[in-house]
């Protein structure tokens, strides 16, 4: 059973977003890490890059395959998590904590409103 914390917003493509002041933190969901299993490599965007909502901006690799990670919202990347690059297993052990991917300064507040609630995401993954 996947953990879907109630203080996060979700994208259909299995990323979560936590808004704090004027920046948001992004990572992949517990459900996504369960599906991937054995994360062995994480590639993150450059700080300062401007990404669009739905744009592939990170890659997570399991033993079996490489999967694109899509930004839930548009904005500028302000920080990336070096710890998860050094220790990709954090994605498996703490997907919505120490395994976060990047921080982003939202460009468009309306996009935040269109993200899924925990209830809706839970419905999507059949929870």
């Amino acid at each position: 059973m996947s953990n879907v914390p109630s203080d996060l917003k979700y994208a259909k493509s299995h990323e979560w977003l936590r808004l704090s002041g004027d920046t948001a933190t992004v990572g992949i969901t517990d459900h996504a890490q369960h599906e991937l299993t054995d994360v062995v490599f994480v590639e993150l965007p450059e700080v300062g890059r401007h990404v669009k909502a739905g744009e592939a901006c990170a890659v997570v690799e399991s033993v079996k395959t490489a999967s694109d990670i899509y930004s839930p919202i548009s904005g500028e990347i302000t920080e990336v998590n070096k710890a998860v690059v050094d220790n990709p297993a954090l994605v498996n052990t703490a997907p919505d904590g120490a395994g976060w991917f990047y921080k982003i300064k939202p460009a468009n507040a309306a996009e935040l409103a269109s993200l899924l609630s925990p209830e809706d995401y839970l419905k999507q993954i059949g929870g």
């Binding site: 299993t37 054995d38 062995v40 490599f41 590639e43 890659v59 690799e61 399991s62 033993v63 079996k64 395959t65 490489a66």
Partner: protein, 373 residues
């Protein structure tokens, strides 16, 4: 509609994640590819390999026929023995790689790749045409399910699953008396099974072929008896990482109809001096002149994403080849793979680069196998 093996419900019950492979719905993993991989290296694992094809070739003409269509020398087999071999076209390209077993005088079992059953059968039938009553080639794939039980501790419990003595092919007192590449028929509660001491993991192990309902019972028994020894059910994901670490070729990756066994590095299984066989002229010429490209094994030498099939290989600043298999090695904890390069870059320690998403990362050609105990 994907085909399902007799163990389909078992896979679901065990939490297996199912994928398409060669027209079959098969488990890629149950818990984690890494855990399943390490279970096989350290203790034991059981794989459903019911998707593999089985062909029986029999008759007084069988030996001559097989020696003409396969690269290895089938005459070396005594009853109860098997060999790895390849089936080539006239250009020396590989139609399939397979195991050929001699069950008794004039009776052979070929175990072929799931994805190649139709192509192989068409080829075998065309090649057998005119053989008359001296030769019978029968696709028995739909009659059989199969398991691979692999790992260093398998020998400690497999005799509790299947009891001897064997009743056909290799005559031994019990299953673990089989020597590498031997095959024997063993009685089981619900019908006989064929057991060979073979596998695709680089570990000691056995492959068990039988009727659907029999294999379902053997699977259940292996799970129970193997459990105290750390046995895990394993999916195709671990099967692939295990075979990649020991550099066993996989059809469609290292092998295809435009690649010869010599280029693929499996020339050991080509018997050029056994007499005429399909592809011999081309292969003998290649052997004499030397191949121009070769399948090499490599390791990533710095931090990078794992290499994957089709990634470009660079050497001396030029794009020189392509990765055919690649993964993160669970035993070595680094990126490993195999790929084709011009022969001047095929020597171990040659520095190459693997292009991953537009960037190049350092790698080195290494001797096969990549992983050795």
């Amino acid at each position: 509609m994907l085909k399902r093996t007799v163990l389909h419900a078992e896979h679901l019950k065990l939490g297996g994640k199912l994928i398409e492979f060669g027209g079959w719905e098969m488990p890629v993993q149950y818990t984690s590819i890494t855990d399943e991989h390490l279970a096989v290296r350290q203790s034991a694992g059981v794989f459903d390999i019911s998707h593999m094809g089985e062909v029986t070739v029999s008759g007084v003409g069988a030996e001559g026929f097989l020696n003409r269509i396969l690269t290895n020398d089938i005459r070396k087999l005594a009853p109860g023995e098997g060999q790895y071999t390849l089936m080539c076209n006239e250009s020396g390209g590989v139609i399939d790689d397979l195991y050929a077993y001699k069950l008794s005088q004039g009776v052979y079992l070929l175990v072929i790749n799931a994805s190649r059953i139709e192509v192989d059968m068409a080829w075998l039938e065309a090649q057998a045409a005119g053989g008359g009553g001296r030769l019978d080639v029968l696709n028995s794939s739909h009659n059989y399910a199969a398991l691979a039980v692999q790992g260093p501790r398998v020998r400690e419990f497999l005799d509790r699953c299947l009891s001897g003595p064997s009743n056909c092919a290799a005559r031994v007192g019990c299953v673990t008396d089989l020597k590498k590449n031997q095959i024997g028929g063993f009685p089981f509660d619900h019908g006989d099974v064929l057991v060979s001491r073979t596998g695709y993991t680089g570990e000691d192990g056995f492959e068990i072929i039988g009727r659907d309902e029999t294999i379902l019972k053997v699977w259940e028994r292996v799970l129970v008896e193997g459990q105290p020894f750390g046995l895990k059910p394993c999916g195709l994901g671990a099967r692939d990482t295990l075979r990649t670490e020991v550099c066993y070729p996989l059809y469609g990756h290292e092998l295809n109809e435009n690649t010869t066994p010599l280029e693929a590095g499996v020339g050991f299984f080509v018997s050029l001096d056994k007499g005429e066989f399909n592809g011999r002229l081309v292969l003998a010429g290649q052997k004499a002149a030397g191949v121009t490209r070769k399948c090499v094994a490599f390791k990533m030498t710095g931090k990078s994403a794992p290499p994957r099939p089709h990634y470009p290989i660079w050497a001396d600043g030029a794009h020189v080849g392509e990765v055919v298999s690649g993964t993160q090695s669970p035993c070595l904890n680094l990126g490993i793979g195999m790929g084709y390069v011009p022969v001047q870059f095929a020597k171990p320690d040659t520095e190459i680069e693997i292009e991953i998403r537009g960037k190049r990362f350092a790698a080195a050609v290494v001797p096969k196998p990549i992983y050795r105990k």
